[in-house]
Amino acid sequence: MQGAEILLLPGVMPRLLQGLWVTVWIAAVSVIVSVPVGLLVGWLMTLKNPVVRVLMRIYLDFIRIMPQLALLFLAYYGFARWFDWNLDATGACVLVFILWGGAELGDLVRGALQSIPEIQAESAYVLGLTGWQSFVHVILPQALRRLLPASVNLATRIVKTTSLAVLLGVVEVIKVGQQIIDANRFQYPDGTLWIYGVIFFMYFIVCWPLSIVARRLEKRWAND
């Protein structure tokens, strides 16, 4: 149990919680804004217009093929250099995670929309619903049900990937942990494990409820 006292030092837990707040804030904003972006992207991907399709394909593939870290550097350093657009590190993170989440979610939305049987749209058409009414009242609600479990998993991935923000200098939970470890290296040489243990636990507390929700929804909607 050597080194556990590091957690009791004044300021350690509050600082870790502050760091966690930064992590949760970046993740939450990214996930929340990703939802409309993803819905829009997914809807665009189901359109028959070839130009829109190609553009969406390029967007999706670019985001997926590039490592998230490379995207972060592009947004942070690249935008400043090429467009004279100086995003702060947190802003760059949020932007990248929205683009990434939007692309991934968009692909999920596309799949969900296309999985709704054609007869549903045909029934709506015969009943006189306009294309928009059919989308909003018939197709989208059914697609969202199929979509929810997978998108909750995506949200947990976004939470975990926020740890890359360290590399842009954002002081989120992992960075705070490193600072505490570095500052106490000589008094508490074994503190490292404890600090990272606490961080592990914090990530778990944030992501675990999401996993539970996803599993529950999957079960409940499995037989519909």
């Binding site: 049987p117 007869i119 549903q120 045909e122 029934s123 709506a124 058409y125 015969v126 009943l127 006189g128 619903l129 306009t130 009414q133 009242h137 018939v138 609600p141 059914q142 049900r145 037989n223 519909d224």
Partner: protein, 277 residues
Amino acid sequence: MTDIDANVSAGAAKGAALSVRNLVKQYANADRRVLDDVSFDVPKGRVLVVVGPSGSGKSTLLRTIAGLEPIQGGQIALEGKVIETGKPGSEKDGRSARSSELRTHIGMVFQSYDLFPNKTVLGNIMMAPLLVQKRDKAEVEREALELLGKVGLADRKDSWPHELSGGQRQRIAICRALILHPEVLLFDEITAALDPEMVREVLDVVIGLAQAGQTMVIVTHEMRFARAIADEIIMLEDGHIVEQSTDPERFFTEPETERARQFLRTFEFERASHDQQ
């Protein structure tokens, strides 16, 4: 074979709820026509039954009338007004651009149980009257409950579609179409996917509608039902009308064409072999 071609240019016959003239339906990259020069009238309050072997174009015929498939030739008229005119080269077009309002005049019930799974029974029935016809909610609900009562499902108004049997779902699909007060109702093999015990409860509802004077076009493989309900009958094969009669009893007992005789015999045989068990 058919003398209806004589009044091609005369357009819709008087008093016809639905008139189809020289209808041509063709899919892209296909030489064969799915429907070729099909003409008939359905007088108001009458029931037309369409029979024929699988792949004869029966379902496609209903789908063109409902506006789900573009037509490449001929005309479709509802109560004397042309609602669809065939356009050559329209094979790849989507559903007809006809107005929402017009679509509510032609109801359709499909073979698969196509209720909206995200809505309750009442939600399914009330959706179109509220969204499309902008009717008063209380009035729509009252009529929905009345219709549910008529099909014996008043107690299921708050159920979800997945909680219902196929027969119950089809009866609700019929209510969902009826509440719009369509001039014509189209039934596309609505009992084909049902367990035998459930066929009856659905067909009884349809027979009730016929007695109430609802104009209908019914595609079915249930020959005894067809015989009981038809005022007029058409037999289709390979997209052509083989035989057309306003005397269904005669069609089922002594059809004019050899092809119709053959077709009807296949059902006789099935029934005989079942009776032996």
